[in-house]
């Protein structure tokens, strides 16, 4: 008994150290700009020659090709900004429903060394912005659970059903004929 407790404590401490080592990569708690919450990185591209076009407000052909290659919607306008983290935004022509009135930009561009890093909103922004139009349900969790991930919920219902049936098989008492007495 003593040995089991001691070895378990040791194992747990080692595991905790491992978790703490791994947890360094996790984004900060409550950060609204972290990768799962706001934007994901798409690709890097060589900066030479592109900066002039971007400064003049033209979308370079190679950048547009690379965006189109990934099947993403093509922006039509460049917006340059002076301050902040980003250097350029690529914006579509018509502004859509404004849940994020200040941030209705589709692609972010940041200059890092002699390369440009292109970012885009993560999946979750589309989920938040267009789900209500698509399904006419205002609870984002419900339309995620029942519509976008409908197969998942079907499997979950099957899990519940299976649990009920297995409990019934393991200890079925009531409903049996009383011939045992």
């Amino acid at each position: 008994m003593k040995l089991i407790s001691l070895s378990a404590l040791l194992f747990v401490i080692v595991l905790g150290a491992l978790f703490i080592y791994v947890a360094e990569d996790i984004p900060d708690f409550g950060d609204s700009n972290s990768a799962p919450n706001r934007y994901v990185k798409l690709f890097n591209i060589e900066a030479d020659g592109l900066m002039d076009d971007l400064n003049q407000g033209v979308i370079p052909q190679s950048l547009a090709d690379k965006i189109e290659e990934r099947g993403l919607p093509l922006p039509t306008r460049v917006e340059s900004i002076e301050e902040g983290e980003w250097d350029f935004f690529l914006v579509p022509e018509e502004r859509q429903q404004a849940f994020y009135p200040k941030e209705q930009k589709y692609y972010f561009i940041k200059k890092a060394g002699d390369e440009l890093e292109v970012f885009r909103y993560s999946l979750i922004i589309r989920w938040i912005e267009e789900g209500e139009e698509e399904t006419e349900v205002i609870n984002m969790v419900t339309y995620g659970l029942a519509d976008y991930r409908g197969y998942d919920t079907l499997g979950e219902t099957s899990v519940i059903f299976t649990a009920g049936v297995s409990v019934l098989l393991l200890l079925r008492r009531r409903g049996k004929r009383p011939e045992a007495r």
Partner: protein, 81 residues
Amino acid sequence: MIPSIDLVLLSLVVVLAIAAITVRDLLSAIMLLSAYSFLMAMVWVEMHSVDVAFTEAAVGAGASTAFLIAALSRTVRWEKK
């Protein structure tokens, strides 16, 4: 999320978790687990995930406590040392 409320609730949660696995009376352990689940539901309301909090309050503090007590009524109450 408000960090001060969050910290208070989470430290209570840790205390309750330690208490739930240390106490020798299993009925007390189950009630402490129920309180733990309810505090966890409060943490999740405070983190703006209302659906998860609702589910946890219904399941963790309600249904699974009922299951554990029902199971305890058919087994023994005291943990042997």
